[in-house]
Symmetry: C2
């Protein structure tokens, strides 16, 4: 592998000048630049990334922690992040946190140890205090899908409460009044915020929420199916169910089908996230669109702006979802 020395030698200029044309960091006369460029080409020169990082104290890498690498949600998010980072010549190091506190902490340490210039974090098991202390230590990071008051400008989040609200409101507007809710694990803030939104919508329509109509599940389809079983078994009758995410909605629909109940004729189902698959279930799932790709883009832009000082980048911290009408909800008919 050719080094900058060899380029310097072959082109007859100094080390420093080669570095200059490499980085465009200072004016270089056209003729010398020409010579250097040729030498680089001839030698098939590639700068050594580690040496650059060491000397410049900048690794040009961003670490990203997501709960899981698979699943449509994180896939779209990583995709959004990667595309803008890539266009900026930065690279993305990924790690999975598995929604487990120890694992998330380990992953963060791992990413830190790799010398990332900044971290993009989607964490749910770790505490606010931990994150705050990280911030105190000077670790550069941006949180996705989580909001901490004290470091608002480091949080890119969805208004989950609003999402939960419009989901249930869409059901109410369609005439439903007895609405069940299958929530995600309530220790996760997004899950509990969505449920809050549901309650707010219900309250707005003068419905006090019956606790038996709410089931706390785990964001998985199995969990959704289980929740529906339980609801069907023990809850008062209902004509619609809102789910904390799409996957649970899939499970719920399967469970309904197993009970010979038709969606949406007998029961309307509302999801949350708008996974790519929700357009291909049967019936196609009416849900709340989560602009996860956009939020991924924004997280990457945050890093470009705050870490790499790229100017002229419009940052946005709060995203609002909207309802996507498809076929799993229909007006209530007695």
């Amino acid at each position: 592998m050719a080094t900058i020395y060899e380029v310097s030698e072959r082109s007859g200029v100094s080390l420093a000048t080669v570095s200059r044309v490499l980085n465009g960091t200072a004016r270089v006369s056209d003729v010398t630049r020409q010579k250097v460029v040729e030498a680089m080409r001839d030698l098939n020169y590639r700068p050594n990334s580690a040496a650059q990082s060491l000397a410049s104290n900048c690794s040009n890498s961003i670490g990203m922690l997501v709960s899981e690498l698979h699943g449509p949600f994180f896939g779209d998010m990583m995709s959004g992040v990667e595309s803008v980072l890539r266009a900026a010549g930065k690279h993305l190091i990924i790690a999975a946190g598995h929604s487990n506190e120890t694992s998330e902490k380990n992953s963060i340490e791992f990413l830190r140890s790799k010398g990332c210039d900044a971290l993009i974090l989607h964490v749910d098991a770790v505490s606010d205090d931990y994150l705050l202390s990280l911030h105190g230590e000077g670790v550069k990071f941006v949180l996705v899908n989580r909001r901490i008051e004290a470091i608002q400008s480091h949080c890119i989040s969805l208004d989950n409460q609003y999402g939960g609200y419009i989901a249930t409101k869409a059901l109410l507007d369609a005439g439903h009044r007895d609405i069940a809710y299958i929530a995600g694990p309530l220790w996760k803030v997004d899950a509990s915020e969505r449920l809050e939104g549901h309650k707010r919508a219900m309250a707005e329509f003068g419905r006090n929420v019956d606790a038996r109509l709410i089931y706390e599940s785990d964001f998985s389809s199995q969990g959704g199916a289980l929740g529906m079983e339980k609801l069907l078994d023990t809850a008062p009758t209902f004509s619609a169910v809102a789910c904390g995410n799409d996957e649970m909605a899939y499970g719920a629909m399967n469970s309904l089908r197993a009970h010979k109940l038709r969606v949406p004729e007998d029961i309307s189902v509302m999801g949350f996230d708008n996974n790519i698959m929700s357009d291909y279930t049967f019936p196609r799932l009416t849900t709340v669109d989560y602009p996860v790709g956009d939020m991924g883009h924004m997280a990457a832009k945050w890093a470009l702006h705050n870490i790499y000082q790229q100017p002229k980048i419009e940052l946005r911290y709060a995203f609002r979802p909207h309802v996507v009408q498809r076929d799993s909800v229909r007006p209530y008919a007695k």
Copy 2:
């Protein structure tokens, strides 16, 4: 940030010794080790990754190129890779190739420029010759889901031909004889191999394949839906359809439903891949299981063994899929 010098000074031992306890590369007496460890803790020392890479000529990073970051297939694959790499202290840099030749080449160059110790490549747009020349240049890489004779020991692949064969054979065994096929884009080797398998199975049952029963699509659900429309419109009657992947099967099922045809009562549908979602479609999709997570694991192990000289690792290069029976296929009844 504390450096090794400061640790050396504070613990009263030499630089070299600190490095030794850091890497466990040579014997160090317990007392000195103790002093060093304490100093590290007191100073909250973290080795500088770039410096380590520069000095050791090893970045401890693996670059991975996948077609897309989203979608169940690549998600599972990355997940498999990450977990074993992570356990070994190596990190994963990811990039998307978008199944486009220029983009794939750019991504490979990008990854190379980042100093990855090795590359895990899922590419389909780039030519064998290109890959071979890369190999000739000394670039370390392993191919996933692609086989090139000349560098077999660098290829971890699924027997797609066999998969296509068992998919159609399952249909034939169920009594179907008039079987349509919705293929992926045939310039992709996996798509064409699967189709080959289909033809082999048909031939084995004495059926010569009617070209009108084969539709070349694009691996997307939309494409699958389109293919089914076309088949319904212009092909001779058929009682079953095998699809090049699950996503096209989803589209095909939707399209059948739109035509008031029931799956599997009127038409049986067979997928390929066993996406996580295939267990939640309606009807649940009978398909061919692609052990993509296992293959991801293996790709990572390949790197551990071949690049980092980790011994005692069993490598496997060929994976065989199997049929997963669910609800979208049923015995043919006149």
